[in-house]
Amino acid sequence: MKRQIPLFITFFVGTLLIFSVFIPPMETLGENFTLFFDIIAVFAFFLGAGNLVRVHVSKLRKRKADWGFSIVTLIGFGFMLFVGLLKIGNPGGIAADVTAPGSWFQEMFNYVINPLQSTMYALLAFFVASASYRAFRAKNREATILLMAAFVILLGRTPLGMMLTAWIPDSLSIFQIPNMAVWIMNSFNLAGQRAILIGISLGVVAMSLRLILGVERTYLGGDDSG
């Protein structure tokens, strides 16, 4: 029973939504259900918050490695929750947008979250370089193809590419590196992306069908746990 009802719910909701696409009066059903999902997700925040606090408090209690930093997390969490839920310093009071300029919440976003977020993102510039060094090695045929394609495109994106190959006459201009880079983007790149995309869409379709039919059910966990 504990598994039958959820399987039925999945089947029912899934089938309903599939048919709603073909039936104009039911078209908005999908939108509403997506909104439902957002609302359920907000309830799940309680689970998330509870878990976060539990993990860090237990780290503190057990004096695990780096327990001192758990205090930072807990204070940061509590403070942000406090200024966000009570809209502290918000020029428009409770009715205003929570991210109104001047509110503490927004200041925290601008001066704490934003620099951290964009610096983490900017680390990618470094990692792109270290990955290129470490992994672009002609170990086998596949890796060599990968390496060559990346190199041609990289070269094509700098003035070097044009300078190296400007001597090639117009009747052979496809061999000028910038042109070659564009051509690769428009042919091989397009073909590869399309093949993956078609595969993915078929995979999603098949997977959805398995879920609706109740064939794929790992997400429900075991029979006895509960």
């Binding site: 370089a129 290129s132 672009f136 990346a150 190199f151 003035p159 044009m162 300078m163 564009v182």
Partner: protein
């Protein structure tokens, strides 16, 4: 002062790379922190000491340049600013360079926008970037801004037969009838060249499909880098040329400076922004080479043993 900084940082970066390459011949791996340091230097140095690299225009960019260069003096060019502030860093440099080029060649320019946000950007760039270099140019005689009209592709559908129907006046409510530029211009078909700069919809693609093709008017486009590959299928049949992203702008700027040396003094944001990009690309490519040298050397050594 700046030059010394540029020279020192270039020596540091390129010299360092050569040293690493020599070391790699002995199959020695490079520590990742050294790679990180090189990337940091390659990006930070050109920001501190503005560094520009000589770009050589590719054919797609050069065709736009040549088109404007070879139009007879006094031709009428339409420039459409089809972008918003988010896209501006990438495409604004092209808009500036092309406007300057047209003025330099004595063409008349009609400015417009298919984006509501474009009109503000348009007047801003006119007053801030374009006109200061050409104090002698006169509004309504040498250029005119007819601004933005709602209607997306619909606007194009109308102005291909009649510009006045869609734009009865310019942005300052001067009737088009009384503007000298429009003496011989009734519709887009009478224009000598159209340049659309943008990246979204409506934008360059719509100009090609709704005006360039049906009206048989030459159209050039300037687009954000991510959109550029999607425009290539139209080249060279339906569009004169393509400027793609900051690189496109930089190429155009360098071509402009090459042909008209007086522009060397002006701000060239495209070339400036390409500085960190070029150096970083070179560093990454160098590390790919070094990595492979290490790899093959290491393999040969293994075989020997």
């Amino acid at each position: 002062m700046d030059n010394i900084g540029v020279i020192i940082s270039l020596i540091l970066i390129l010299g360092g790379l050569v040293t690493l390459l020599i070391r790699s011949l002995q199959a020695r791996e490079v520590d990742r922190r050294i790679i990180f340091l090189f990337i940091f230097l390659a990006v930070a140095a050109p920001i501190l000491f503005p560094m520009t690299f000589k770009e050589k225009a590719t054919q797609v960019v050069k065709s736009v340049f040549d088109k404007i260069e070879n139009l007879p003096e006094g031709s009428t060019v339409l420039l459409s600013f089809d972008f918003d502030p988010a896209m501006a860093p990438e495409v604004q440099p092209m808009a500036n360079a092309i406007s300057r080029h047209c003025f330099e060649k004595g063409h008349k320019i009609i400015f417009m926008s298919l984006w509501a946000t474009g009109q503000a950007l348009l007047s801003h760039s006119l007053s801030e970037f374009i006109l200061p270099g050409f104090p002698e140019k006169e509004n309504l005689v040498d250029y005119v801004s007819i601004g933005y009209k709602a209607g997306n592709e619909g606007v194009l559908n109308v102005i291909i037969t009649d510009i006045q129907k869609m734009f009865p006046t310019d942005v300052n409510s001067v009737p088009l009838d009384s503007i000298p530029i429009f003496d011989n211009i009734e519709s887009c078909k009478d224009l000598d060249f159209i340049m659309s700069i943008g990246g979204g919809k409506p934008g360059p693609k719509e100009w090609v499909l709704f005006v360039g093709d049906p009206g048989d008017v030459p159209v050039g486009v300037g687009v954000a880098a991510v959109v550029a590959p999607q425009m290539y299928p139209y080249y060279p049949g339906q569009i004169v040329g393509i400027l793609g992203g900051v690189k496109g702008a930089a190429e155009y700027e360098s071509e402009l400076i090459r042909v008209h040396p007086r522009f060397a003094e002006m701000d060239t944001p495209g070339l400036r922004m390409m500085g960190p990009q070029t150096l970083a690309h070179v560093v990454i490519m160098a590390f790919i080479v070094i990595g492979n040298v290490v790899f093959f050397r290491g393999r040969r050594r293994e075989k020997k043993e």
